[in-house]
């Protein structure tokens, strides 16, 4: 049976982890390679690097991070943030990433999804979405880290990106992100029932029970969290043990 995936996300700027990671036994909590390795030991099913490097010159640094991580972490690696062109996708995959996550750029240039999927295969094109509720069962898509409302209906958008060849969706709810009151169940339900590709739940995890809740109430394939894991409030094994209690299939290590 296919296991539900638990995915820690590391925010990286200029090659350094942005929020301090609270791991025991790590010397340099700002080193993304060490953090990824630790998550790997904990049993993370995938690791996401979200690159928030602002300058174009700084872009190469994340590729070095991926290259080094891929030498010692043998689970899938995803890189998001700043991927604008087919060349960006190629360079990121060649550095050792298994998937790229495209967000704002996909909204502004949906052809990037089609081209990426045609050349490299759907399996490595994940589309990240930031969305916000506008009315009951209605959401619109935002870009630039949730700052600009594109006025695009979320459900129309997810159907379109599936058509374009995306292999996966990472759905972040602006309403629940940072609130730590649980994942956005209604939004996830609506998206999961609109497409056939896997959906990753993102935004809102604040406590242990949020994880069984999202998997019991929706058919999402994975749950992603950042600060919850970074600050050591919860560990991946704790989350998996809780899911097991609810008979939700997870990979044990």
């Amino acid at each position: 049976m296919l296991a539900k995936r638990i995915i820690p996300c590391l925010d990286v700027r200029d090659g350094r982890v942005v929020k301090g990671v609270n791991f025991k036994g790590i010397k340099d909590v700002g080193d993304p390679v060490e953090c990824a390795y630790e998550y790997n030991l904990q049993g993370a099913d995938e690791i996401v690097f979200y690159d928030i490097t602002a300058s174009h010159e700084g872009r190469g640094v994340i590729l070095d991070v991926v290259r080094e991580t891929a030498k010692k972490v043998f689970v899938p690696l995803t890189v998001g943030g700043g991927i604008k062109t087919v060349d960006d996708i190629r360079n990121t995959l060649r550095a050792g990433a298994d998937k790229v996550s495209v967000n704002s750029q996909a909204v502004q240039n949906p052809e990037l999804i089609r081209k990426g999927a045609d050349i490299f295969g759907s399996q490595c094109i994940c589309v990240g979405i930031d969305a916000k509720k506008t009315a009951d069962n209605k959401w619109t898509v935002y870009i630039n880290g949730g700052r600009i409302d594109m006025g695009i209906d979320l459900i129309d958008w997810v159907k379109q990106i599936e058509q374009l060849g995306a292999g996966e969706i990472c759905l972040n709810s602006i309403d629940t992100d940072g609130v730590r009151g649980g994942f956005d169940i209604p939004m996830l339900k609506a998206v999961v029932s609109a497409v056939k590709i896997p959906v990753i739940a993102s935004g809102g995890a604040g406590k242990l029970s949020d994880f069984p809740d999202v998997f019991l109430e929706t058919d999402c394939s994975a749950a992603l969290a950042a600060s919850l894991f970074h600050f050591g409030e919860l560990t991946v094994p704790q989350v998996k043990a809780e899911l097991k209690k609810h008979s939700i299939p997870v990979r044990s290590v």
Partner: protein
């Protein structure tokens, strides 16, 4: 030395990284002489079946692969596993390498999330040297939309996704194929790759 066949497909560095980590010598190559002199061969692959067969044909590798697979341990990974079969039906009917009887077609269940992406639990069918040392609760990483259809005698391990999905197949001699990515399957995958490398010296 293991030759990892480089025909322009996907993330082949991961396979090399995993072998390096295990201390197993390997080379990324499309050179026929290197492939001939290797003690084992890995055929990786991400992409579409007809595209990959065309690439192998353009590189002049098809006959060589068929020949070498009779003589030394040979492992196809993901699409590389699918290419081992007689035929594929991705986009169009396409002849495969014909090293293992069977064919490759779309995962037929229509109510499933496609691709089959993520970690799935291995169920064992036949004794296989690549599975030595694995326990009862081993997960490996998959990402694919097409699956193999083969006989029971070639099926070493499978996973449940709607129905049985062949995970590890073998001709019972030198040829092995895994639908999952051992190089992305944590310690379970590294053990499987280590087991494969162990065949080289035995």
């Amino acid at each position: 030395m293991i030759a990892i066949i480089d025909y322009g497909a996907g993330n082949i560095f991961s396979v090399k990284n995993a072998l390096d980590h295990l201390g197993i010598e390997s080379l990324l190559t499309s050179d026929i002489e290197t492939i001939r002199s290797a003690e084992g061969i890995i055929l990786p692959g991400v992409g579409a079946f007809p595209w990959a067969m065309n690439k192998l044909r353009e590189s002049g590798l098809i006959e060589e692969i068929k020949e070498q697979a009779k003589k030394k341990p040979f492992l196809g990974i993901c699409l590389g596993m699918q290419l081992l079969f007689d035929k594929g039906f991705e986009f169009e009917e396409c002849e495969g390498l014909g090293l293992i009887p069977g064919y490759v077609d779309k995962i037929p269940e229509t109510d499933l999330i496609i691709p089959h992406m993520g970690w799935n639990k291995l169920e064992y069918n036949h004794e296989c040297p690549l599975l030595h040392g694995l326990g009862d609760d081993e997960y490996v990483y998959f990402v694919h939309s097409y699956k193999a259809f083969c006989g029971d005698s070639e099926l070493c391990a499978y996973v449940e996704y709607g129905s049985k999905v062949p995970a590890l197949v073998s001709d019972g001699k030198y040829v092995y194929g895994c639908q999952f990515h051992p190089e992305k399957s944590g310690s379970t995958g590294l053990r499987i790759l280590g087991n494969f490398a162990g065949l080289l010296r035995s």
